[in-house]
Amino acid sequence: MQRIVKAKIIVEGNAESELVVIRHPVSLLGEFNPNQGTILSFGVKIVVKNKIILIPSIRGSTVGSYVLYAAKENNTAPSGIIALSPDPILITGAVISNIPLYQPLEKINLEEISKYNYACLDQKNSSIVFSMNKTQI
C-alpha cells in the first residue's frame, strides 16, 4: 500500500527512511535534543535520528534553527523533514544544515498518514511516497 503526494521542495535532496509523524507543533529549542536526536513532544520522547519526520509546524524560539544545525553536526539529525506549514525558523535550519525539506501540496490527515511506516522524498518527481515497506527512490 502506497500513497504518493505532490510536494513543494523547499530544500532539495532525496531521502528514504522510516517515517515518524509528530502531531503537535515542535519547539526546536527546548524540545529537540541535538545530542540524542530525539524530540520531546508533550511528554513523549521520540527518536528522530536518521528518520523522516512529518510535523505540522514549528513553534518557539527563533534560535531553533541552530538546534537543527547542531543535530546535523552531531549526526543525530532527521534525514528529511516534511512540514505542513514551514516557517522561517525551520526553513533556515534546514537550509544551513542541508536537510531535505518538503511541503505537501495536498491536504494530509496526520492520523491517516501515521499508519505508513516509511517515507521517500523524491526530488525528481517532486513528491513524497508514503509506504508500508521500504521502496526505492
Binding site: 534560535v63 544545525y69 522561517p88
Partner: protein, 401 residues
C-alpha cells in the same frame, strides 16, 4: 525571485562563499514564503548569541562567517549573551564557558555588530513607521510591529545574521501589507482597566492570546492607552506562548485605524482565564526564592518603579534580580539608583538574562515575576519553577517588616 545584478553576483559567489550562502538562504526562505524580490532593511537584530543556547555548532557557524571576513552592512545589534561580559565570575560562570562566550562576542564585534547584548534593541534605535527590519528576537519583533508600526518577520537567528551581511531581507510575510491584516478581534472587557497599567495582567493576556491563536494577528480594541511597559510585557508573552509577531492595540499601534472596523471572528478573555495563570494573593517568599524583572530587559521606568517600591526597605525578604541592557544600566548609574539598589542587595545583571545564562539553572526554589515570557521559558530552559504575579504591592512582597 527577481534579483538585481549585484544580488545575482553575490548569489553566484562572486563576492565570496560566505555571502553566497547568506543570500541563498534568504532567497530560499523568501521563495518558500512567496517573496518576489529582496528589499533593503534599516536594522538587523540577531538572536542566538548565548553560547548556552547555540553551543559548539552555533559557535562554529559564526566562526566560519568571521574567518570569511564578512562584515555587517547595516546597523546591526545583538541579543543577550549567556553572561555579563565583565562580571561573569560573580555570576558563577565557569572559565571555559566565559572563554567561548567572549570569543563569540569578539568575532561578532569584529564583524561590525554594536556592543548591544539586549533583547530591547528598540531602546537603542527606535524603529520608524513602516521601515523594514530583519529582527529575530520574538519579543522585539512584537514591539517593532505592534508599537512602532515597523515591518519585520519573526526571523530565524541565523537568517537575521545573514541579512545583516547583505543589508536585505525577502519581500514576504509581514513585509507585505496584504499579510498584515488582523485575523481575530480580542475583547478584554472587564480586564481592560488592569491590562493598560499592569504588566502582570498584560503578560497573562499575551500568554493566553499566544496559546489561543498561535500565529494569528489579534486586534484589541481599548478605550484607554496602555503604558509602554505594558505593551512590552504583552508582546513578549504573546511571542513566547505563541508565535505572534504583530498585534493591533487601539491607542498604540499606528495602523490600528486601518482595521478598526474589520469584520473579524471575536474571542473574549475572561477574568477566570487570567486568574488561572496570574497569582493575585501575596506569595510567601524567603531567601531561597527570587523576584525577577527584566524579561525583556528592564527599561529605566521599570527599574525606577522597583526602586520607588523598595527604597525605604530595611532589608529584603528575598533575592531581587534585575536584568537589563548596558545602556539602561549606565542611565540608572548616572541617576544614582544603581548604587542604592545594589546597597539594598538587589542583583543587577547586564548583557544577559536568567533565561539564556547557565548561571540561572534551578537557582531558586521559586521565581516570581510579572513577565509572561519568563513564565514560559524559565521552567523549560532552566527547570526553574516560576509564578506570574500581579505586581501591585511590591513593597509588601519584598520588604521585611
Amino acid at each position: 525571485m527577481y534579483l538585481t545584478r549585484e544580488e545575482e553576483k553575490i548569489y553566484d559567489g562572486e563576492r565570496g562563499e560566505a555571502l553566497q550562502k547568506a543570500i541563498r538562504a534568504i532567497v530560499k526562505v523568501g521563495e518558500a514564503l512567496g517573496a518576489d524580490r529582496l528589499i533593503p532593511i534599516q536594522h538587523a537584530h540577531v538572536s542566538g548569541i548565548s553560547y548556552y543556547n547555540i553551543g559548539e555548532a552555533g559557535y562554529k557557524f559564526i566562526k566560519y562567517l568571521y574567518t570569511s571576513s564578512v562584515k555587517t552592512v547595516v546597523y546591526s545589534t545583538l541579543n543577550p549573551l549567556g553572561m555579563d561580559l565583565d562580571k561573569w565570575e560573580e555570576l558563577g560562570i565557569n572559565k571555559d564557558f566565559a572563554s567561548k562566550q567572549t570569543e563569540l562576542v569578539n568575532m561578532l564585534l569584529g564583524m561590525g555588530f554594536e556592543k548591544s547584548f539586549t533583547c530591547t534593541p528598540y531602546l537603542l534605535r527606535q524603529p520608524k513607521f513602516r521601515e523594514h527590519l530583519a529582527w529575530s528576537e520574538s519579543s522585539a519583533v512584537g514591539m517593532a510591529n505592534t508599537y512602532y508600526g515597523a515591518y519585520t518577520n519573526r526571523e530565524a537567528g541565523p537568517l537575521a545574521l545573514f541579512s545583516s551581511l547583505i543589508g536585505k531581507t525577502y519581500n514576504g510575510g509581514l513585509h507585505l501589507i496584504k499579510n498584515r491584516k488582523p485575523t481575530v478581534k480580542v475583547l478584554l472587557k472587564e480586564i481592560e482597566k488592569d491590562f493598560v497599567i499592569n504588566e502582570g495582567v498584560a503578560s497573562a493576556v499575551g500568554y493566553i492570546i499566544g496559546e489561543k491563536i498561535g500565529d494569528g494577528i489579534p486586534l484589541i480594541p481599548l478605550r484607554l492607552k496602555p503604558t509602554f511597559d505594558v505593551v512590552k510585557a504583552y508582546t513578549a508573552a504573546a511571542g513566547a506562548a505563541g508565535s505572534i509577531a504583530l498585534s493591533y492595540l487601539e491607542n498604540v499601534s499606528p495602523e490600528y485605524s486601518l482595521y478598526a472596523n474589520e469584520n473579524l471572528e471575536k474571542i473574549e478573555i475572561d477574568i477566570k482565564e487570567i486568574k488561572d495563570i496570574l497569582v493575585d494573593a501575596l506569595p510567601t517568599l524567603n531567601e531561597n526564592d527570587a523576584y525577577f524583572i527584566g524579561c525583556p530587559h528592564a527599561s529605566v521606568e521599570e527599574i525606577i518603579n522597583l526602586y520607588n517600591n523598595i527604597h525605604d526597605c530595611k532589608k529584603l525578604k528575598t533575592n531581587v534580580v534585575v536584568s537589563t541592557s548596558r545602556m539602561v544600566y549606565e542611565a540608572i548609574e548616572k541617576m544614582g539608583i544603581k548604587e542604592k539598589l545594589l546597597n539594598l542587595g538587589v542583583v543587577i545583571i547586564r548583557d544577559t538574562c536568567p533565561i539564556v545564562s547557565p548561571a540561572f539553572q534551578k537557582r531558586f526554589e521559586k521565581v516570581i515575576t510579572s513577565s509572561g515570557k519568563a513564565l514560559f521559558y524559565l521552567p523549560k530552559q532552566q527547570s526553574q519553577p516560576t509564578i506570574l504575579l500581579k505586581n501591585i504591592n511590591l513593597r509588601d512582597i519584598l520588604c521585611r517588616e
